[in-house]
């Protein structure tokens, strides 16, 4: 099987509050930085994948003539699914060089579509009438069940945010960098009990993009600024558009399918993972992710985090950019998680994990509605 490499990866020039750019231009800004990173131009791209905007808009705007297109849109992990689909397309010879773009005016809402839900959709009929009000009061719904079943304390949930702020403190591009304590988290404003403000993600503007090609071609991309990073394995799944209908309120079925599949394809065991990213829209995501990926047994992740295993200096450095809780979160955060995995594999992350060779990146889409997982390596898959 042909190996697939990441030969370009970059975020938008700015992150945070970018009122001077439309959402489409945030995609383009990230794409142009990524093309420059790879030493390529739009003319070198023959495969295009995006979510949030249509591939048609991006192809036209950037001047790309694609022969392979993917507009899979299942929420913030869509870009992980694009990577998985691009790997298959490149291996099948459907195209040679794929650009995956993300851009989102999540905070400034410039040129961004509104959030609307049909009253006749499943969630519109069977969740919205009860006052679900976007992600903060919906994505958080299963957590009290987890807390009762496994005895997780409020302090343990808060600790997720504390640890990620430690990582963000090492990252000049992180939105929030000042250290916080468990008490700070528990004393921050209640958003949707049991969640406080500091246990919820940021809302910012930004973007990111990746360029993938076959490993044979990767060595031909002579002008790239960095050595290739390799895709070792991928996984994907979807479960439900309604969080009330999850099969199990204490575990994501989509995580449990996408994550282990990616690690199996990569041929790695848990002890071989040097670096982990788990899409953290809210503080419980890393807890569900650690357990669904199999790094912790059921109910063990809160102690694992409390004991600083995922913190700086811990055995499993996780969300080392500061995560959606402290780094940035435009709405569809999955691209930023992969950017951090790539930086770690390139050895250029602000909070670089020494000698990291394998990174697992798990994304969520919707509210436990979907998942994509990508395993990155700093060398071709053995």
């Amino acid at each position: 099987m042909t190996g697939i490499a990441v030969v370009g990866a970059a975020e938008t020039t700015e992150l945070g509050k970018i009122p001077g750019m439309s959402q489409l231009m945030l995609h383009a800004d990230a794409a142009l930085n990524t093309l420059a990173d790879a030493g390529l131009t739009a003319k070198d791209i023959d495969g295009l994948a995006t979510a949030g905007e249509r591939p048609t808009d991006l192809a036209y705007y950037l001047g790309i003539t694609p022969s392979w297109v993917d507009g899979t849109s299942v929420g913030g992990c869509s870009f992980m699914l694009h990577v998985r689909h691009a790997v298959a397309a490149l291996q099948a010879g459907l195209c040679k060089t794929v650009l995956i773009t993300h851009g989102e005016s999540g905070r400034s809402r410039v040129g961004a579509g509104g959030y609307s839900q049909s009253a006749s959709s499943l969630a519109g009929q069977f969740e919205s009438p009860y006052g679900t009000l976007g992600a903060p009061s919906t994505f958080t719904l299963p957590v009290l069940r987890y807390m009762k079943d496994y005895g997780m304390s409020h302090e343990q949930l808060a600790m997720v945010a504390v640890v990620q702020r430690e990582w963000a403190g090492m990252n000049p591009r992180a939105s929030f960098r000042d250290a916080i304590t468990v008490d700070d988290v528990l004393n921050s404003k209640l958003i949707a009990y049991p969640f406080h403000l500091l246990e919820c993600c940021l809302v910012t503007d930004g973007g990111g993009a990746l360029i993938l090609t076959t490993d044979e071609r990767a060595t031909d991309v002579n002008n790239a600024k960095h050595a290739p990073v390799y895709i070792w394995g991928t996984g994907e799944s979807v479960e439900t558009p309604m969080i009330s209908q999850m099969e199990n309120l204490t575990s994501s079925r989509a995580f449990s399918i996408a994550g282990p599949r990616a690690m199996k394809d990569a041929g790695i065991s848990h002890s071989e993972v040097d670096h982990l990213m788990i899409y953290d829209a809210f503080a419980h995501l890393p807890i569900y992710g650690l357990e669904d990926l199999g790094f912790c047994g059921r109910g063990e992740a809160p102690d694992f985090i409390w004991e600083r295993n995922t913190a700086p200096g811990g055995c499993l450095p996780t969300n080392t950019n500061g995560g959606g809780l402290s780094y940035m979160h435009s709405g569809m955060y999955g691209m930023y998680a992969m950017q951090e995995s790539v930086r770690q594999m390139r050895g250029v992350a602000p909070a670089q994990v020494q000698n990291a060779e394998v990174s697992v990146c798990l994304g969520v889409g919707g509210m436990f509605g979907a998942s994509g997982c990508v395993v990155f390596g700093n060398m071709p898959k053995p």
Binding site: T132, S137, L144, R145, A192, Y193, P194
Partner: protein, 138 residues
């Protein structure tokens, strides 16, 4: 009244029977004639075995509190913090709802507490299935 109405469901042909039932004070679920799987939300086929041979039946209205949040962000239809709940019906399926007849506090909303359905008229067409603590605490 006086408050803006909540977002109300717009039934589809596949869910009309459920909302008609709510109007009549019946919580209607569906059961597969073949594999006996009981499911929600409504659809004219079994999501477990794909059979189109399914029947509608009236559920007991008994449930327990599976999980919830107490929303503190402003919602046009609510003045105070309110709980959004996931209840588990005695017949098996879970559904989103609100808990009424009970203070919206962690002390009063105890996981696994028994609940019973109570229909609240929202419009000429829609009554919502809400749940109150069992044992008539209202």
């Amino acid at each position: 009244m006086g408050k803006p109405a909540r977002p109300l469901p717009k039934p589809t042909p596949e869910t009309q029977h459920f909302w008609d039932g709510c109007k009549q004070g019946e919580l209607r679920l569906q059961r597969c004639d073949g594999c006996a799987h009981v499911y929600f939300p409504p659809r004219p086929f079994c999501p477990s075995c794909s059979s189109r041979a399914v029947s509608i039946f009236i559920a007991s209205g008994e449930a327990s509190l599976a999980s919830y949040v107490i929303n503190h962000r402003p919602h046009p239809a609510w003045d105070e913090p309110y709980a959004i709940a996931i209840v588990e019906l005695a017949e098996g399926p879970r559904m989103a709802s609100n808990i009424v007849g009970c203070e919206q506090t962690p002390e009063c909303l105890v996981l696994d507490m028994p609940l019973v359905v109570q229909f609240e008229v929202m419009s000429d067409d829609i009554s919502l299935p809400l749940f109150r603590p069992a044992g008539d605490r209202t």
